[in-house]
Amino acid sequence: MSDAQTQLDIDREKGNFRYDVDYEFDAGTGLTEKTIDYICDVKDEPDWIRQFRKDALKKFLEKPMPTHWASKDLENIIFDNIRYYLSQGGQKPKKTWDEVPEDVKRTFERLGIPEQERKFLAGVEAQFDSEAAYSNIKEAVGKQGVIFMGSTDGLKEHPEIFRKWFGKVIPTGDNKFSALNSATFSGGSFIYVPPGVKVSHPLQAYFRINAENFGQFERTLIIADEGAEVTYMEGCTAPKFDTATLHSAVVELVALKGAKIQYITVQNWSNNVFNLVTKRGLAMEDAEVKWIDCNIGSRLTMKYPGVVMKGRGARGEVISIALAGDGQHQDTGAKMIHAADDTTSNIVSKSISVGTGRATYRGLVNVPRHLKGCKNNTECDALLINTNSRTDTYPAITVRGTGNACQHEASVSQVSEEQIFYMQQRGLTEAQAMSLSVNGFVNDLVRQFPMEYSVELKRLIDLEMEGSVG
């Protein structure tokens, strides 16, 4: 280990700091068939996956950037400069807690992140000590017959279940970034819940944090068999620092007849990250897929969780909170595809734009021909904090035929001066009052998050609001 490798390389931009790390496996920059062979060899993957990845690479190269509707910022991604596979193997990072910048430490402290976890999140420890928690939870749900493992293990150990649904909800060619993920994926979870099983614990990516779960190109596949129920949580509220500036995950959910899947995400990437994610669920007869999505960090997030309601009586829901801070663009939304009679969907989106932040809601609701009794409700509320903040709303609603009902409503507002004045009269500072108002704005959605998340979210909003007024 040379000195250069242990040096801390701090960028003065907030959140944009990184270390030089010595990786055991590194596919190098750029993406070619060789990169894919390297990944497959390192991961010792079966041939069908190798072929799958190579086909995906072709699609990725063919597909144009979606800049005819999306942010031009996408053009700043230089695919040739990106490392598509990095793994530290069993090595420990060679740096210490002392080297972590003060403001980052303070952030962790303010959020109330446990000591051990802070070290992992700051990248000074590769092995977050969650092994015990993971094996406990694995054992507990294992008794119920639940399979919970990394997606690479899943495709090797349970190909009969994995292959049936893998790439079926989100085809490789769905968009440029799903193709990229299909070519390069590593990390992510594979979950199978047998018929009728209601998973006793919420499963968290967190438990498997040391199993390269926070990878750049995560691939998660969750299957809830008939009548099963499962809740999955991904991410955490603490800022996550990483060398990689492009993250492109694919998450596929399959809820068979009468099953329920709830998928909770809290994303807080550092401000230099492009987070371009494709998430979609398939809901069969009477099944329910619910996405709870919270986006706080990153430079540009593009994420539109979707539900394809394929069976009669299926239900889809997206609850979304986006906070766009200075220089950030949160381009989030939802897609609801009604593909059977009597399906219902609900979208509630709340966004907050601070400073030069830009929050965009982009939605799609589709009720094709000859369906009856389909209902969609969409509500989008945007809150603007500063005069230079920006918000956009771009829904697209298509309804064919009679017997269906769709309604969409959106509003844009600012924090009421009267409210702020009222609170200041009672001794709160302007920043505290602002935080309280913003927390009030998202409160009814935050309550749907698990307890520990909602507490952290509130603290995080407080943090983000600091310095946004005055």
Partner: protein, 425 residues
């Protein structure tokens, strides 16, 4: 395009503008299906093969006779195939007060400065730049209206544009300038003499200066095989108000682009539309509420009734530019779907770059309320009549916004007649 392009007397600047239009039309790419501004539309419907600049209409007198409208109007102009068929000038006292109503052709020379300043001054930003260029290049005709400062025109000014014959292409243009604190109502009627396939490419420029009030209604009743573009640009000044209503009853493929720009404080723009899409009609509407200055208001309400294989697209944007605080903007599209084959697409949009604003939008799609229908049926009203009553009730929320009862009654009767025919299929 074939046929004689230019008849009559046009000044040199207009000829140059035409040439520029033609060059741009050649240069600009045709809309592609992937183009966001053409999402959900049907770009295949835009093939212009077989259209030409038409000759004069056969029986001008008959068309003039069929140009029945409000009965009482301040001025009345009738055009057929891009040519003036009849002109009823305003009363002498109005002319003496400074009211100008004349053909674009005449105004291009007599009021060259004003026409040059306002004729297509705004670029077509909502997707049809190519067709705006085509309009500029074509045998444009229509009416130029200048309402002088403080004048209130007592009755609506009526304009009729007819198209006749297979393959005829017409280029109606309406240019209205309402000077400070003036008030006027203008009604454009677009009609076909027959059911032959035709192409219409119309533009209207509305300029409403400080404190002025303009009501502009376009009633589109083209024949069932007509492809039509109607591109609007409205500029609203300080404390001025413009109410624009687009009524689409005819056409096969109809594209409306309505662009309203609030250029000073206190400006108000009401953007209204009533649309019936029946048979295999497609009505594709794009709107833009551009708030350039603070303290302005815009209020959009578009309502569509769809039956048969009718399709509608609504794509609207409220844009609040940086610094345009205290903006009050509203946008609503409501669809009522009456058949299983009809399709309504709604894309209401917001782009907000100022924080002290009140901006909301909504989109709803539903069918006739079963309980309301049942109520009427229980009282012995036949199903078709009951459905018609309910849809007219739905449209009345838009029609009620028209400030003049006679005009409102006239438009309502046209909508009702079309709806009745559409519901009978």
């Amino acid at each position: 395009m074939e046929g004689a392009l230019v008849e009559g007397q046009w000044p040199a600047w207009f000829a140059a503008s035409r040439q520029r239009g033609w060059d741009d039309f050649q240069k600009l790419p045709a809309p592609a299906a992937k183009d966001e501004k053409w999402r959900f539309s049907n770009v295949k419907a835009l093939a212009l093969d077989g259209f030409r600049y038409p000759g004069a209409v056969g029986k001008a007198a008959a068309l003039v006779e069929r140009s029945t409208g409000l009965g009482e109007s301040a001025a009345r102009f009738v055009f057929g195939n891009n040519r003036l068929l009849s002109a009823t000038a305003p009363a002498v006292d109005l002319v003496k007060a400074g009211l100008v109503v004349m053909t674009i052709e005449e105004a291009a020379t007599k009021h060259a400065d004003l026409v040059q300043k306002h004729f297509m001054a705004q670029d077509a930003k909502l997707g049809s730049a190519k067709y705006a260029a085509l309009h500029r290049s074509g045998p444009v005709n229509g009416v130029f209206i200048r309402v002088p400062k403080d004048l209130e025109v007592p009755h609506p000014i009526e304009i009729f544009h007819w198209v006749e014959g297979a393959g005829a292409a017409v280029f109606p243009h309406t240019l209205v300038i309402c000077e400070r604190h003036s008030k006027a109502t203008v009604v454009d009627c677009f009609r076909s003499a027959d059911d032959a396939p035709a192409f219409a490419c119309g533009v209207n420029d509305l300029v409403v200066e400080e404190g002025a009030k303009l009501n502009y209604v376009a009633v589109q009743q083209w024949g069932p095989a007509t492809t039509a573009f109607h591109l609007n640009s409205t500029t609203v000044g300080r404390d001025a108000a413009c109410l624009g209503m687009q009524v689409n009853l005819g056409g096969k493929f109809v594209r409306n682009e309505n662009y309203s720009r609030m250029v000073a404080e206190g400006a108000r723009s009401d953007m209204l539309s009533v649309n019936i899409a029946a048979g295999d009609q497609m009505i594709d509407q794009r709107t833009f509420q551009d708030h350039a200055k603070p303290n302005a208001t815009s209020d959009l309400l578009y309502q569509n009734a769809l039956t048969g294989k009718g399709r509608t697209v609504f794509s609207g944007v409220i844009r609040v530019e940086p610094g345009a605080h205290k903006t009050d903007a509203y946008q609503k599209v409501r669809n009522i779907v009456l058949s299983d084959e009809a399709e309504a697409n709604s894309m209401p949009g917001l782009e907000i770059e100022a924080d002290d604003v009140r901006c909301t939008h909504g989109a709803t799609t539903a069918q006739v309320d079963d309980r309301e229908l049942f109520y009427l049926l229980a009282r012995g009203i036949r199903p078709e009549a009951a459905q018609q009553l309910l849809v007219m009730g739905f449209f009345n929320t838009v029609l009620d916004r028209l400030p003049e009862t006679r005009l409102r009654g006239h438009i309502e009767s046209l909508v009702e007649a079309r709806l009745s025919a559409a519901l009978r299929g």
